[in-house]
């Protein structure tokens, strides 16, 4: 069933405990089918990424897992508990870092954590201890008494992550954890997410950044129009859908003719004035083509998850 697991990509998930399980999960608004009868599992200890264009249903799915959005139909369980019945029990074991900044602007960094801890019935002394550790973990110690308005976007994001961990959750839901961050902040967040995964926290994240998904996720679920259209380990998905290398050349009719002649089995994609060539052949196929037909502006690069994503979801803008 999961070939990549046997094939040795990522961590072997065979026999892992299923922590979250969805069957025919559906969310319907008045005239919009946001999530359309999807099935999926999340295994304990993995990092599972939900990818998809805007409106694909990623955030809707996350919000159903965190028990704040009722299901229209189907079933969804977290650690065996029904999200429609045992919301408090589930919420106790989940940490949520939402897309939007919903920190308390009237409080300092530290006070945000302490007030949040109170909602989980964490005693004050324990809350202070955990908050100190979390501020250290996210390099926010110096900002402990700063009011939220004075934090940069990256600091706010780290504080939201710290807040999501205050209840020592088994499951961490990260909705676009690095959107809008500079590369430094982004890498720090990635590093912390990997660290948490090592500690055994199960992580579910949504992202628009394919490099982020490839970097962090053991497994990705690609969603489009409320359905899961593909699922698998990022490396495996790249190999399956786009091969190992991609050749990019400037478009002209002559080059296109040569390409089609020389690489008959390849897939071509013309975007603007560039041709992208995908092939199932191993390394080397493109090198010999370039040698034989030196073309201006030709580059060979490694195929990536973004190629997979665009192949599966198309290039049409979603708004």
């Amino acid at each position: 069933m999961r070939a990549y697991a046997i094939g040795g990509f990522g961590r072997s998930l065979m026999g892992s405990e299923i922590l979250i399980k969805a069957r025919n999960l559906t969310k319907k608004y008045d005239d919009l089918l946001a999530v359309s009868s999807i099935d999926f599992e999340v295994f304990r200890g993995e990092c599972c990424g939900f990818l998809g264009p805007n409106g694909a249903g990623k955030t809707t799915t996350i919000r159903m897992i965190q028990c704040v959005l009722p299901l229209t139909s189907g079933s969804l369980t977290v650690s065996g508990l029904d999200v429609s019945q045992e919301q408090r029990e589930i919420k106790k074991m989940i940490g949520v870092a939402p897309q939007e900044d919903n920190l308390d602007p009237d409080f300092s960094v530290m006070h945000n954590l302490l007030v949040y801890a109170r909602y989980f019935d964490i005693p004050k002394s324990e809350a202070v201890k955990r908050s100190n550790e979390l501020l250290k973990f996210f390099q926010l110690e110096e900002k402990r008494n700063v009011i939220i308005d004075q934090l940069s976007a990256g600091m706010k994001r780290r504080l939201i992550l710290a807040r999501a961990l205050i209840n020592e959750p088994q499951i961490l839901l990260l909705d676009e954890p690095t959107t809008g961050l500079d590369p430094q902040a982004r890498h720090l967040v990635w590093d912390r997410i990997r660290n948490l995964e090592k500690r055994g926290v199960t992580i579910i994240l949504t992202t628009h950044y394919m490099d982020e998904a490839a970097e962090l996720c053991d497994r990705t679920l690609i969603m489009d129009n409320g359905k899961i259209i593909e699922e698998g380990n990022p490396v495996e998905l790249i190999r399956k859908h786009v091969g190992e290398d991609v050749l990019e050349v400037e478009y002209n009719d002559g080059v296109m003719k040569d390409l089609k002649e020389k690489l008959p089995e390849a897939r071509f994609e013309v975007v603007g004035d560039r041709i992208r060539v995908f092939t199932a052949q191993p390394h080397g196929a493109f090198e010999s083509f370039i040698r034989d037909f030196p073309t201006k502006g030709a580059t060979i690069r490694t195929a990536n998850l973004e190629d997979v994503f665009l192949k599966l979801t198309g290039r049409q803008l979603r708004e």
């Binding site: 965190q66 009722p70 299901l71 029904d82 408090r88 308390d104 949040y116 909602y119």
Partner: protein, 267 residues
């Protein structure tokens, strides 16, 4: 499996636990961060009214209902502060927390439910009423206008009236598409109440039908009646009607507002 969409849309009695208190504490913490600003208006406003209307306008009037005019309006100022503080806390204040700050979203990601968030906001609105009206009561007392030890019961009136105004306010919040919407209840409900609830002149001077409307539909009328009786010691049978009125209306709007907010926020 049973779907919960129908459950969310069905009208129900809110399931509340001690977690209501956690939401209250959050609002209290914010209030205390800025307490200097928060204490200023309820302190200054009644002083201005007592001087301008009580002493200034009152000098032109012999007496109203057998008392100096300043004594007549003093309890009204206390009751008005109950209304204003709780009503605006649970319209503009709650709307800002819900819509701009996403505070409710943050809280419901924890074991606290949306019903408890709204109930916490309502109890906080009642608390604002208690705080503001106590400050006004202090000002009134400093002017020597408290003439009965029954004034000690005013905080009780203040809390429950506050809960009533907060619950009514939260119903508007549940209907508000944007923050400008609150201009409607402010001008169509709060201003008429401010002027027509036996606040600055006795209701008896108005035409009968206005009196009936004021007594039947304007909550402030009852808060004023109770406060006036307790501050002067002139107990009247109409006070019983006012107690019953508030006791009947408050739970209705309390439950209604929680259901309406749930419907707005849990889609």
């Amino acid at each position: 499996m049973k779907t919960s969409d129908s459950v969310a849309k069905r009208f129900s009695l809110p399931q509340l636990t001690y977690r209501v208190w956690k939401v209250w504490q959050r609002d209290w913490d914010v209030f205390m961060k800025t307490y200097k600003v928060n204490f200023f208006p309820p302190l200054l406003e009644p002083i201005l009214y007592l001087i301008a209307l009580g002493l200034g306008l009152g000098a032109l009037l012999k007496s109203v209902q057998g008392m100096p005019y300043i004594n007549f309006i003093a309890p009204s100022l206390i009751a008005i502060s109950m209304m204003n503080s709780s009503f605006f806390e649970c319209t503009y204040g709650s709307f800002v927390r819900m819509y701009y700050q996403k505070t409710f979203d943050a809280i419901i990601a924890t074991p606290v439910s949306i019903e408890e968030v709204i109930a916490g906001e309502l109890v906080w609105g009642a608390t604002r009423s208690l705080i503001s009206s106590s400050i006004v009561l202090g000002v009134v007392a400093a002017f020597g206008l408290v003439t009965s030890p029954l004034f000690l019961l005013i905080p009780l009136v203040s809390f429950f009236s506050g809960l009533m105004f907060a619950s009514i306010a939260m119903c508007f919040t549940s209907l508000a598409p944007n923050i400008d919407f609150f201009n409607y209840p402010a001008f169509l409900l709060i201003t008429p109440m401010f002027l027509l609830s036996g606040t600055f002149f006795p209701l008896a001077t108005l035409p009968d039908f206005v009196q009936i409307i004021a007594k039947a539909f304007l909550p402030l009328t009852h808060a004023v009646t109770l406060t006036r009786g307790l501050i002067s010691g002139n107990l009247e049978s109409s006070m019983i009607i006012s107690v019953v009125w508030i006791a009947a209306v408050t739970p209705v709007f309390f439950i209604l507002s929680i259901n309406l907010m749930k419907r707005k926020l849990v889609k």
